[in-house]
Amino acid sequence: MSVTILFLGPLRDLAGRQEIEVDAPLDWAGLLAAVGPEVAEQLEQKRVNVACRGRVRADKRALLAEDGDEVALLPPVSGG
């Protein structure tokens, strides 16, 4: 009964880790609480996206991740 949260790019440094496991289900409020205040502040910004099950959410605040889901936190890309 868990959800994996992945920290990508600079958010990895900010979180101090690559991923965490949290209990399912996970909604927006649960996500903000799980990632700590610094990452939460980033998540509130428009330029940071959230993907669930490999797809970017159009409305990240409507997140509802279930058991086995992977939630990826996506800061602005650098490009290749």
Partner: protein, 155 residues
């Protein structure tokens, strides 16, 4: 040479180690024997004084899917016979290849424009996060404003 087998019409790869550029292009050329023109671009880590290494991280479900979508868009928009988009991830040192793209088309103008289009999108809109190691440690990089402007040209 050119024993490498490519998918057609799109060959899109994320690579976690070095690529053999000559072999890739020989294979692409052989695969698209009927195309009048093939334009390619190879991007490498520049030996820019301070930069000792570059790291590209990615999120495969988005990064690879995004590259495939981009290659498909280029194919349709420029009426290409084939497209190759290869991108490195992981840690690279100056002189190493980061990206290799190729576009095969009937006419040279389409091949050139497709190559330009692919690079402009990869450089600013692909799902990669980049950091550079300098003397004082690692630094995250964001696209330059020019990179976004380059991409705007295609809107």
């Amino acid at each position: 040479m050119a024993r490498l087998s490519l998918s057609t019409p799109l060959d899109v790869r994320l690579l976690d180690k070095g690529m053999s550029v000559g072999e890739a292009l020989a294979a692409f050329n052989a695969t698209h024997a009927e195309a009048g023109g093939i334009a390619t671009f190879l991007g490498k880590v520049r030996p820019d004084g301070e930069v000792r290494a570059l790291e590209l991280s990615h999120y495969e479900p988005l990064t690879l899917a995004g590259m495939e979508e981009l290659a498909g868009n280029a194919r349709e928009r420029f009426d290409l016979d084939g497209v190759l988009v290869w991108h490195r991830v992981g840690v690279m040192v100056p002189g190493e290849a980061i990206v290799l793209i190729a576009a095969a088309a009937r006419h040279r103008r389409s091949a050139f424009e497709a190559a330009d289009f692919l690079m402009d999108h990869l450089k600013s809109a692909a799902w990669f996060w980049k950091r550079e190691r300098r003397a004082d440690g690692w630094h995250w990089i964001e696209p330059r404003p020019e990179d976004h402007e380059d991409r705007e040209r295609w809107k």
